[in-house]
């Protein structure tokens, strides 16, 4: 039940038992009736046991406290799992949220390019750091030092690197409306990399004839997933297939091959 500005019975009020604003519901009977006896609720019993007793209200509060943190941790784990597996996509969110997010991304990009550049640089710097030799030999691993026998997962300083994921590529052509892209994805760079840090050598023709296409640049566009390759095709460019290796800045291993076709 949500009452706005103190007026009961608003049309927008959810029906009883539903969750407004994601808030936690208590059964309707509990805690609703006036309770003049104070927080402990029931009248005191004739003979109170000598040992201190936890009041019902307090016990209920502690139980709720544990429920709240358990639910929060569950949600956190779920979210972390989705992000770590790279399954999170904007399209998973409701449409209005997606639009709002895209606008926010665009706004943030326009306003804070410098800030993002700085963060990105810092992340790169950190990623390039090698973990030191194990400095904590003298410190017992937490769970091993604990009296409880339950072993806990201990994170190692350098877990094996995960397999590299791929990113979607959208190719846009300037000067050749009929051109066709034959590359849909590239390997994701190992380190956080801005679109401007991705480059391709001039696209070389598959046959001997025709000059290479030098005009290739990479951009981000919040309205599409992945990265956008913009290929500028000079006038009179010979038809055929053209391709080139794509690299991320500072990484000698190519992300893949960008291939396009200029049909007859």
């Amino acid at each position: 039940m949500t009452i706005r500005k103190g007026k009961a019975g608003d049309a927008g009020r959810p029906s009883p038992g539903t969750e407004a604003d994601g808030r936690v519901r208590r059964p309707a009977a509990a805690g609703r009736a006036p309770n003049r006896a104070g927080p402990k609720g029931a009248a005191p019993k004739a003979k109170t046991p000598p040992e201190p007793k936890v009041s019902e209200a307090v016990a209920h509060a502690v139980k709720m406290g544990y429920d709240v943190i358990a639910e929060n941790i569950r949600q956190g784990r779920e979210a972390a799992e989705r992000f770590r597996q790279g399954e999170y996509r904007l399209r998973d969110a409701p449409g209005d949220l997606e639009v709002a997010s895209l606008r926010l991304l665009q706004l943030a990009r326009e306003l804070s390019t410098t800030t993002f550049d700085v963060c990105e640089r810092l992340l790169k710097e950190l990623g390039a750091q090698r973990p030191p030799q194990d400095r904590t030999d003298s410190v017992p691993k937490f769970r091993e030092a604990a009296p409880a026998a339950t072993p806990a997962p201990v994170k190692t300083a350098s877990p094996s690197p995960p397999a590299q994921a791929t990113m979607q590529v959208t190719v846009r052509f300037e000067g050749a409306p009929k051109a066709i892209a034959h590359t849909e994805s590239l390997t994701r760079p190992r380190l956080p990399t801005a679109a401007s840090g991705v480059s391709a050598a001039p696209l070389a023709p598959s046959s001997a004839r025709g000059a290479a296409i030098a005009g290739v640049r990479f951009e981000m566009d919040a309205s599409v997933e992945g990265i956008v390759a913009v290929v500028t095709v000079p006038k009179g460019q010979a038809h055929g297939f053209y391709s080139s290796l794509v690299h991320a800045e500072g990484d000698p291993i190519p992300l893949g091959v960008l291939t396009i076709e200029l049909p007859k």
Binding site: D21, R23, G31, I69, F142, K155, A157, S158
Partner: protein, 352 residues
């Protein structure tokens, strides 16, 4: 369980040792914090604003939690103090924004930054502090390698999200005059708004730093949560009591119609007529709420046991924190820092 009983059970540091430790760790953090704030080129309309809130003092609770955890898990003060400086810089940046959002006029006994310089410059200073906090954090993590840094970024992003959600809940409940909140709603808000930034994150940072990423930061979440909820309830209770040392406006939370545990309780246990008056009071704008109505509500809370209930629940949450402390820190070698962390539980009720 009383504060003294808790202290005995957990080998907690006595109040004097708590104060000494916070003073020591606070001083070390402040030196580092000032070094980072002064490292920037001189900027008019900014430098003075950045230096203002940190110069006003404060308990230095968050940095102390971070440093104590780092040391308890095997780290050094030197390594932890940069992280602590990052926490304090970020905290002060968020305080600037909080004061604007809440329309607060005073912070630590002096006019708020936006009251002194206007909201635009204050927001700008808050932004600058939040991003400035990255530098000492990065510097603290650099020697530990990319994996540990990624772990820290992970918990920091979680904290940022949780804190924003908590602030949104509190502001939204008040601005939209949400009335039928439960205690679980309150706990959820306190977890997000208070516990995550104030207790969980500093403890996690210290744990990761001290163990070089070998200990699981989830270990301290429950302890930090219960500590944070107990802290928040106690803070709300102090606002309702005559406490000259508290330093905030008496019953200010009632004027603000802040959704506290006591307000939720009193609404649940009062009569229909009282509830109607309460709803009318809450529906008013802050400026319309009269001192007479505020006193009536404070009296109602007292009469219907809401204050006592708040005290009981705060103590129960502290008890849960003590329980979780034993689970999270029980296996560590006893040390002054471990005792300091244990001492945070009774300290909640004794702090000045």
């Amino acid at each position: 369980m009383t504060g003294a009983a808790l202290a005995d059970v957990m080998d907690a540091a006595p109040p004097s040792a708590m104060a000494d430790t916070m003073a020591t760790y606070g001083r070390a953090t402040k030196v580092e914090l000032e070094r980072y704030l002064r490292a920037q080129p001189s900027a008019p309309y900014l430098d003075d604003l950045l230096a203002d809130y940190p110069s006003r003092g404060g308990k230095m609770l968050r940095p102390s939690i971070c440093i104590a955890n780092a040391r308890a898990f095997g780290g050094s003060l030197e390594a932890a103090v940069r992280c602590a400086a990052a926490i304090e810089i970020l905290h002060n940046g968020l305080l600037i924004h909080d004061d604007i959002q809440d329309g607060s006029e005073l912070r630590r006994g002096r006019p708020t930054l936006h009251a002194l310089h206007g909201a635009p410059l204050a927001i700008n200073a808050g932004d600058a502090m939040i991003f400035t906090a990255l530098r000492p954090l990065i510097d603290a993590l650099r020697p530990l390698g990319g994996d540990v840094a990624a772990q820290v970024l992970d918990i920091s992003m979680t904290m940022a999200r949780e804190t924003a959600e908590g602030q949104a809940l509190e502001l939204g409940w008040r601005d939209c005059n949400i009335l039928d909140l439960t205690e679980a709603d309150y706990f959820r808000m306190a977890l997000k708004k208070t516990a995550w930034m104030g207790m969980i994150w500093p403890a996690q940072l210290g744990l990761i730093l001290g163990s070089s990423g070998r200990a699981d930061p989830q270990l301290v979440v429950r302890f930090g949560y219960f500590l944070g909820v107990a802290f928040q309830i106690e803070d709300d209770l102090r606002n309702l009591s005559v406490d000259p040392g508290y330093g905030k406006e008496l019953n200010g939370d009632l004027f603000e119609a802040k959704r506290t545990l006591m307000l939720i309780h009193v609404r649940n246990v009062c009569s229909d007529a009282e509830r109607a008056r309460l709803h009318g009071f809450l529906a008013q704008a802050r400026a319309q709420r009269s001192p007479d109505d505020v006193l009536w509500l404070a009296g109602l809370m007292q009469r219907l046991g809401s204050i006592d209930h708040g005290r009981e629940v705060a103590a129960a949450m502290a008890g849960a924190a003590a329980h979780e402390f034993a689970l999270a820190y029980g296996g560590l070698v006893p040390s002054a820092d471990r005792s300091f962390i244990a001492g945070l539980v009774p300290w909640i009720f004794k702090r000045t």
